[in-house]
């Protein structure tokens, strides 16, 4: 990325952090907390998610067939289906419907007035910019969802898929409304603003020619559209004007009514943490509801031609005066169906849970973490699919791959993977940059040219670290020198305000060999076993020397070796290849794929020999347990996954199997410790074992619930994201600052906390290793 672009992007993010961040954080984090609570209280949550996912998979697999099914069903009901190729096609169709209806309609507006449309909230109509198109055609458009209406008045775009005006505070809305509507008594409270909006919009709805809604789901075989809302405006838009147009992406189709059930059950839970939304409207239009003609206020509403004599309307073809159009939008979606990596995006039900659970999103909102239309983690897939990769390129880097959204997504979309894939595609489509020569020699990757030099640098961090360690301490002195930092910032985008890691001359692997290697370790473990009377644990460990542990934080590696030996387990620390995590985080999938194969090959014999692979760095373990599924043959993936453990998870297992906790450094039973787990570790459900081990060893751990440390590997080093990483990190630092001892499992989490708290933040194993923390 060019220097200029980095600087512009940094300015933009700084601006959002100051202006929109506070309101976004307040609402998104509250929604996320409610979601977690509701998920926790839902017994069959996993079954629901699995069922919803499999229904979507099957539906997307047979979209062309479902389109024909819904066409038949809607036509049988008396409505019309139009499949629009793209935005212009959809907009022209809707404009035509509105103009025709206004010309011969009987709704409120007289022939002399402009045709008018009332709308309920719909991201799909945002995607095609329907409002602009209709207005250009002389049609008045009014949004009736209060959030959307606020945006329409403010002339802004949604900052969140579900809460579009989340970035605007009540005070700002009041100011905006006071200026625009000049009320006798200035608006102040949310209550006053809402009442005014209800009355004002209520009149516009009764006068409108056409109601336009989106659709959360479309049931193909009954021609039913489902709308999930809390305000009731979608109901009013659908029932009041006698013409209803629903605009929906083709991916909203579900085969049958019973397929709708799990989605009705889960969508509000994931979106806002409500058990169910206020209104789940399931209409098979044209409906039997009588048309409402406010031009003839004294006629009974039930007296229209279409009204059934018995007033029930059952089995009728719907009210004869009603007209319904379902516009199904392609706009790139059918191509997404054919794209093995982007297809999963089509399972998205647009609940915003990925946004709410994301630390970066909470700080900058959808105007920073979003493209032309969509926002949050899943937006990368949507934007790449419907607007093109250039739109995704604007914000894709804001996904740090932390995986918080993975457990939040109601249809189990691997959102971090979609971000990695699109990053990889963007890397490959970029022009070669002039600084390639700087990293070429250092970077033995499998990537074609054109990759951002900063990304290549971080993606090849293992090779960089090895070279830096070999030349330490000179490399460290050099790296700290002012002129060098300026060059690093200009060429690689590494912010000069960031402390760089200090590379150790002696790596963990060298240290381990220097103290006698595997043989000496066996003897130490045997001595420990003979010292205490506890059960022998007949295991053997291969400790994975991840790049950071091996070359930078060698101490936590040494502590891990000592702790395992004290528990009677012999250890090996071979020189192993990189896991591919660093490459993945930069979107270098080919490099990661090669590294995964090499690491598996290097570990295969140990796995065959029944040795346990123990990993200190959670992000490396997460690569083995998650991404390797896509990089290795199934059997290899499963063997490595089943044979590898997070360090404290492994210690927990040893203690559970009879190892003696007093062999470790123990607290007095109540020694308070603030513990920050690692994002990916939490997704793997591996926070609890560390907490349990700390408790068994006499500590009183309190866990943080901050979404992220903000550093996220290399993210916080990058100049354009430096302030954002601090903003996210401060929320964590505030939580743990009061504790005397703070420990963190992740490398970058610990580093960032050390910067923010200005004190040591070791790995939990350094607290537990015999003798406690030492250097």
């Amino acid at each position: 990325m060019a220097q200029r672009t980095r600087s512009d992007r940094a300015d933009r993010i700084r601006h959002l952090l100051e202006t929109e961040g506070p309101a976004i954080h307040a609402q998104a984090s509250a929604s996320n907390a409610r979601r977690k609570e509701t998920y926790g209280g839902t017994d069959d949550l996993e079954e629901l998610r699995t069922e919803a996912r499999s229904i979507k998979e099957a539906a997307i697999d047979r979209l062309p067939e479902l389109i024909e099914t819904v066409r038949e069903a809607v036509e049988e009901n008396g409505g019309t289906v139009y499949v629009a190729d793209d935005a212009a096609d959809a907009n022209a169709y809707v404009a035509d419907v509105v103009n025709r209806e206004a010309a011969n309609g009987t709704d409120g507006a007289t022939a002399a007035a402009s045709p008018s449309v009332v709308k309920s909230k719909s991201m799909t109509t945002e995607e095609i910019e329907l409002n602009d198109a209709l207005e250009a055609d002389g049609i008045d458009v009014t949004e009736t969802d209060l959030g959307e209406w606020v945006l329409q008045i403010a002339d802004e775009t949604p900052s969140h898929i579900v809460g579009p005006a989340m970035h605007i505070s009540r005070a700002e809305i009041a100011e905006l409304f006071n200026e625009r509507f000049d009320p006798d008594e200035p608006f102040e409270t949310a209550e006053e603003l809402t009442r005014f909006a209800r009355d004002h919009l209520g009149e516009i709805i009764t006068d409108a020619d056409v109601g336009v809604t989106g659709a959360n789901f479309v049931v193909a075989d009954s021609g039913t559209i489902a709308l999930v809302t809390n305000e009731g405006n979608a109901r009013k838009c659908a029932v009041t004007p006698d013409t209803h147009v629903a605009v929906a992406g083709v991916e909203k189709l579900l085969p049958t009514l019973s397929d709708l059930e799990p989605f009705v059950d889960i969508i509000a839970k994931s979106a806002t943490g409500q058990p169910i939304s206020q209104y789940v409207t399931m209409l098979s239009p044209p409906t039997d509801s009588p048309t409402l003609d406010f031009d003839t206020p004294d006629e009974p509403i039930t007296a229209g031609e279409g009204a059934a004599a018995d007033g029930t309307g059952a089995d009728g073809p719907g009210d004869q005066d009603r007209d319904f159009h379902l516009v199904l939008l392609d706009n790139g979606r059918m191509d997404m169906c054919e794209d093995d990596q982007l297809r999963e995006t089509l399972y998205c039900i647009r609940c915003g849970a990925c946004s709410n659970s994301c630390a970066n999103f909470q700080s900058v909102g959808g105007h920073g973490f979003g493209g032309e239309t969509y926002s949050g983690g899943i937006a990368t897939g949507w934007e790449a699919g419907v607007h093109g990769q250039a739109s995704a390129a604007e914000f894709n880097d804001l996904c740090t791959g932390c995986t918080n959204c993975v457990d939040a997504c109601p249809v189990k979309i691997d959102i971090p993977w979609i971000n990695t894939v699109v990053r990889d595609r963007l890397n490959r489509s970029a022009e070669a940059e002039s600084y390639d020569f700087l990293v070429d020699g250092l970077t033995p990757d499998a990537e074609s040219g054109g990759l951002d030099p900063g990304k290549r640098f971080f993606g090849n961090i293992g090779a960089v670290a090895k070279a830096a360690s070999a030349t330490a301490p000179v490399s460290n002195w050099l790296a700290d020198a002012g002129p060098v930092r300026a060059v690093l910032e200009r060429t690689l985008g590494i912010d000069r305000r960031r402390d760089l890691p200090t590379f150790r001359r002696q790596s963990l692997v060298d240290w381990f060999e220097g103290r006698g290697g595997a043989d000496a370790s066996s003897q130490r473990a045997a001595r420990a076993n003979s010292r205490d009377g506890s059960t022998d644990v007949d295991r053997e460990v291969v400790l994975y020397p991840d790049v950071y542990t091996n070359y930078v934080d060698v101490d936590r590696g040494k502590a891990a070796v000592r702790a395992l030996e004290a528990l009677g387990v012999p250890v090996r620390v071979p020189d192993l290849p990189e896991s591919g995590r660093a490459a993945l985080s930069q979107g270098m999938i080919a490099t990661a794929d090669r590294q995964a194969s090499r690491l598996y090959a290097a570990l295969a014999e140990d796995l065959d020999a029944g040795r346990d692979v123990v990993v200190i760095e959670p992000s490396d373990l997460a690569a083995m347990h998650r991404e390797y599924e896509r990089l290795l043959p199934e059997h290899s993936f499963e063997r490595l996954r089943d044979g590898s453990y997070e360090l404290c998870e492994y210690v927990y297992g040893l203690l559970e199997n009879g190892a003696d906790p007093t062999a470790l450094s123990t607290g007095d039973g109540a020694a308070p410790v603030a513990y920050h787990s690692h994002c990916q570790q939490r997704t793997l459900d591996l926070e609890a074992p560390t907490v349990a081990v700390l408790e068994q060893c006499g500590y009183a751990p309190a866990t943080s619930d901050a979404e992220c440390c903000g550093m996220a590997g290399s993210f916080g080093y990058k100049r354009e994201y430096y302030e954002l990483s601090l903003d996210v990190g401060e929320r964590l630092a505030t939580q743990v600052d009061g504790a005397e001892t703070v420990v963190a499992s992740g490398t970058s989490c610990g580093d960032h906390l050390e910067t923010l708290l200005e004190r040591d933040v070791p790995h939990p194993i350094e607290l537990l290793a015999p003798g406690g923390p030492r250097t």
């Binding site: 609402q27 009736t144 209060l146 959030g147 606020v150 809460g163 005006a165 505070s169 009540r170 809305i173 409270t189 949310a190 209550e191 603003l193 809402t194 909006a197 209800r198 209520g202 009764t206 039913t224 809390n230 305000e231 009731g232 405006n233 109901r235 009013k236 029932v239 009041t240 009514l257 709708l260 059930e261 009705v264 169910i276 206020q278 209104y279 789940v280 409207t281 399931m282 209409l283 098979s284 239009p285 409906t287 039997d288 509801s289 009588p290 409402l292 003609d293 206020p297 004294d298 009974p300 509403i301 039930t302 009204a307 007033g311 029930t312 309307g313 059952a314 089995d315 009728g316 009210d319």
Partner: protein, 168 residues
């Protein structure tokens, strides 16, 4: 249908700040009259021996629809788990009458209260098969937080009462 299901329904409604009253069919008309603040409009009730009180206007005009403070409608069924009532779109105007006035009084037969969403979907499917294929699951009061704080009664009713006919 068990008493427990009604209890579950009542607890769910309590959490939604929606009132529930169990009445005998014979007393329903009077109770509805008490709850239905005037002007009130409504849809004729399909339950045996239950009629709307005279104060509730059926077949309202458009003007009466916008002026009404209360809308009384029958609902096809109710879901105890979530405190949901199923408003069916009928030619009698149940959808607009349950939506426009600030108070909605929903009348449901006790035998039509189902325990959970799953049984609710069974009922929904039966209705679809019989041509009643436009239904709103309404749970609690209309709400928004878009103006910076939670407010009830936005486009839909800010006040909801459920009358359970215990002998129907």
């Amino acid at each position: 249908m068990t008493v427990d299901t009604v209890g579950r329904f009542e607890r769910a409604l309590e959490g939604l700040e929606v009132g529930l009253e169990r009445v005998a069919a014979a007393d329903a008309s009077e109770r509805i009259g008490t709850i239905a603040a005037e002007p009130a409009i409504g849809v004729p009730l399909p339950f045996d021996g239950v009629s709307l009180p005279a104060s509730v206007t059926t077949e309202p005009t458009a003007a009466e629809l916008t002026a009404a403070r209360t809308g009384v409608t029958p609902v096809g069924f109710a879901i105890a788990e979530y405190g949901t009532v199923a408003v069916e779109s009928t030619a009698g105007g149940a959808e607009p009458i349950s939506l426009y006035p600030e108070r909605h009084v929903a009348v449901v037969a006790e035998s039509d209260i189902v325990p959970d969403l799953s049984t609710g979907f069974d009922r929904l499917a039966d209705g679809f098969d019989a041509g009643r294929d436009s239904v709103v699951f309404a749970t609690g009061r209309s709400a928004t937080a878009d103006m910076g704080d939670l407010v009830h009664g936005v486009h839909g009713p800010g006040d909801v009462h459920v009358i359970v006919l215990e002998d129907r």
